[in-house]
Symmetry: C3
């Protein structure tokens, strides 16, 4: 089934909203995501400003209504209503008239990418500021500027959403799908992450059989995952078999995998198995991490969570600027990313350790699983069934065997069903 169109429509709907780590934009976005999956699926949680979580304090809620600068010539620039990236995200309010010189201390632009408005945040130190294209900044003349930001911070809540799509087999083990949603109008980073996650959830809900429980988390970056880990650590450590942090997954470039520090968890194994043969696949160590895998893989948390991206955060020019817009993502690339995640899940679901039940090779021919005549063309070809059985020694799992056979584990599904039917594996 084709989903790319719907995914892109959802991106268009979410794009204009001004999100931050707290506030109305974040809540509105969660609501839209919930509707996209059918409603009443996302569990939306609130945690009070000022709550201590490990080494951190939950920050205040941020409310932004308007922001702009008026030049000495009376021109309105950096208009929040035109592009919400113009305001420093989580900025304090201000209403003043200041010199250009003073204003410069509060402007952010990129000298060697002068056509782009940068995305800048200051969550843990109060500042006010505007982000501006460098080419526009260069034109500013001396004189007095009116700076106006109608924003405030107040004790409110930080929100995040989670939901579980349950195992159909009463299994306790969980797969974690994590993504963040705190960036304002940017498309690849990060609307692509939540959108792929939501469509992955839709697909999982349609499946008749699910070995695992699937835990989805949509939270603000860093503080959101810290809040979540703080609340669920023991449970997560006990039941999470593999996790995937999705971001920057809507462009059309090669897939990237960011490993856990140990590099040997089931998440590393299944993601590598699934992605390694995709064109130009890139493998990164944990040193190249960037999203919430930073928290999930911290030493005392130590969850098996890898990062999955197309172009890794920071490795594309448009990253964290107004150029990361809807033209950077496409229905096709979103659809392909969804498919890659589905493949990862299918490879996880098929993965078991089997043991051959027969001494020596079984007589596959009598069960119709092997040719009964040996000619030159068949002679030196051992069938897949026979190769699969040869490694079913009670130690290799299906991922191990599929990697040896150089095929995707889920492609062995029919074969495994047949072998189970004939009681040739247990």
């Amino acid at each position: 089934m084709y989903h790319g169109g719907g995914m892109y429509v959802l991106a268009k709907k979410l794009f204009p909203i001004c999100r931050s780590i707290t506030g109305a934009g974040f809540r509105q976005s969660l609501k839209i995501l919930d509707e996209a999956i059918g409603g009443n699926i996302l569990q939306i949680h609130s945690i009070k400003s000022g709550t201590k979580v490990y080494d951190w304090i939950v920050p205040q809620e941020w409310q932004i209504n308007d922001a702009y600068i008026v030049t000495p010539d009376g021109e309105k620039i950096c208009d929040f209503k035109e592009n919400n990236l113009h305001v420093l995200n989580y900025s304090e309010g201000i209403d003043a008239e200041i010199s250009l010189q003073e204003l410069q201390n509060h402007l952010y632009s990129i000298e060697d990418y002068e056509d782009a408005i940068p995305y800048v945040t200051s969550y843990y130190k109060r500042r006010w500021g505007f982000c501006i294209k460098h080419k526009d900044r260069k034109k500013l003349k001396n004189g007095n500027y009116k700076v106006f930001i109608d924003a405030k911070h107040f004790d409110g809540v930080l929100n995040y959403a989670d939901f579980i799509i349950p195992s159909t087999q009463n299994c306790k083990d969980e797969i974690l799908i994590s993504t963040y949603l705190c960036h304002p109008s940017m498309a690849n980073n990060e609307l692509s992450g939540p959108i792929v996650a939501i469509f992955l959830a839709k697909w999982l809900l349609e499946q008749k059989h699910r070995k695992y429980n699937y835990r989805f988390l949509i939270a603000p970056e860093t503080i959101g995952s810290i809040v979540y880990i703080n609340k669920h650590l023991k449970h997560l450590q006990k039941y999470t078999k593999a996790g995937f942090a999705l971001s920057c997954i809507g462009d059309d470039n090669a897939y990237s995998l960011i490993h856990t520090p140990r590099e040997d968890t089931l998440a590393d194994k299944v993601a590598l198995h699934t992605l390694k043969n995709k064109a130009n696949f890139k493998e990164f160590s944990f040193l190249d991490r960037g999203g919430n895998e930073r928290q999930f893989c911290a030493p005392l948390v130590n969850l098996p969570v890898v990062g999955v991206c197309r172009t890794r955060f920071g490795d594309y020019k448009e990253y964290h600027t107004s150029k990361d817009d809807l033209s950077l993502i496409s229905p096709t690339s979103l659809e392909n990313s969804l498919k890659a995640m589905q493949e990862i899940i299918m490879n996880l679901e098929i993965n078991e350790i089997y043991k051959s039940t027969t001494f020596c090779e079984p007589n596959l021919g009598k069960r119709g699983l092997y040719h009964t005549i040996n000619t030159v063309s068949t002679n030196s070809q051992i069938p897949l069934s026979c190769n699969f059985l040869a490694y079913c020694d009670g130690q290799n799992d299906v991922l191990d065997i599929a990697s040896k056979l150089n095929i995707q584990a889920y492609e062995l599904k029919d074969l495994i069903e047949k072998l189970k039917f004939h009681k040739l594996i247990l």
Copy 2:
């Protein structure tokens, strides 16, 4: 001593016989092999048709007397007496007159190798058929053909031979040499295997010292080894330290090793150590297996048996055709293969774990094992004895150390004797 000539003579004697997995040709061949080694060495065993062995049933005995086709022009073609490959091996009998169209369903030929008669078998489904050069098949005209195969299947026995050349040291451990003998007139596959095995046995009988027992098995492919494993599994699992399945070992190309699934058994280690430096040596995973190692290495059997070939089965054009004739093997190549197997055995026999007995290096000079003068030419050369001792830590075995020293383990024999004589290793 030169054996190539005798090996080739034996090949010539065995070549014309029509063998199959059961029947008189197989028995006659075993008898000739037994004579070649001096007589009364091979223990010939019979197992009744219909006996259940694991997932298999021992097939009936096959008796073939004659087979041919008479063309509409009265010409006799596909004459079994000219080349026993002309009949589908294990074919049913037939005596009928049929159209060319019907005959075509029972003919086997190779389109892109039109000068060769293919070797085709149908053991587990009853069929009748003829194998023919493709260039001859193309000449067949419409009309009625007389097809005649004087063959029958009946409840009889399946045969195989084994024998043990005992340890001279009362050791219980065994080395297995396995080869199969069920192919009709083809030389490299498979007369080379049994011939190298028999001459290896002759050589072993001449040795004064044998650490291990050497168990030889000459059986039909697949079913023969399954029957054998069925009868001896516990013993084999308990005592087999390493095993070697020999086939396609009479041509003059590079040596090939087919690893066990685990790739780390003593058989893998010693075969790799022995063969790796031979010109163009090829290493294959268990995925590239083809002979009885398929059964010996099945998960529940799990014996340390590697395959040793020259050109691997299926990797040469003549494989399983009438072109695999006596011109494909030679006295020299058979002799060299025998030598390679002798090297493997010598490397196994020399292999032990030793521990140096002295703290620090011993004074080798006073025992005549080291120069007593240090000049420029001797200064930077540490003698082999000293290097060997440096790794005798009670953990490395002789194969490990020889691999580090980049020589064949058996080349350390004199040195080891000297060091033992001087009580420098234990």
Copy 3:
């Protein structure tokens, strides 16, 4: 601080002395080394001739006063007083007139390096002899030669020196620095080893903090280290965490590391970490050993001692000849070798296993350890502190983490201090 000049001056002072494995030259050299470090630091030990140590007997003391040959023309050649390499080291005395033919049996020269006097020794078999440039040897005419060596062997002592620079933290663990000093007038091999060792000791004495005890050993090659191991084996095995055998460390070529047989000790790890990024660094297996690491790493001794050289012994033409003179070493290269050893020590001293104390990443910004604003330039850069913490899992040591981060462990010192101050690691 610059030490190269002082190191080179010390080399010039030691160079002329005729050393051997026993005797006055060795003692005189130890005294000069002791003065160089300030006096009364080296503990000089004596062990009687004839003492049994493991498989060896301590050889007699050697006293040499003069040696020369008088040619038939009355010319004095091979004059010990001109170059002490002219006499076979540890030679017997002789005073005789012999034919050229007989003399030839007692001459040592190098045919393809005819300008160099070779360095030749005969410690464990009594011989007399002279070493001569091959170009001079070729000129010798027939006739009677007077050969005179005023040397004798007598029951005396073998000497060696050791000293310990103690831990400032009451730690029992030791680092061993070993070097030998038994060669006569040669510079790189081996004056460079003792000189680097002595200046390393001077530097260690200046340090305020030393985690480890540093055990220095200056002994004759082979027999000296055997004597030492014999006396201290249990202590050395219990407390030696890493050891370094220094020789041929005064030239200006690439650094070389000679591994232990196991290749995985702390000494292997820290030396590899420190040296691997130096230009043209060379890594050798234990098969390429040559100095006292031969004894320290013998199987029953099994100490974690690697060899550290510039050009490995035997890999330079001048090795063990009169051409290994003061022109082969330089103040700069001695200084650089000292620095490399200091780096090894600093990497050892900083090496610990830390564990992050916080769940999730700590809030580094509030401690001034991280920027508080996220702009495009900072976004995709994770600070070193954060990367270091990410691997502080209680299993990786600082060397492991520094290798991942591709910097020298000691460069993490300030960072580690800060993290400890903030109680972010334990």
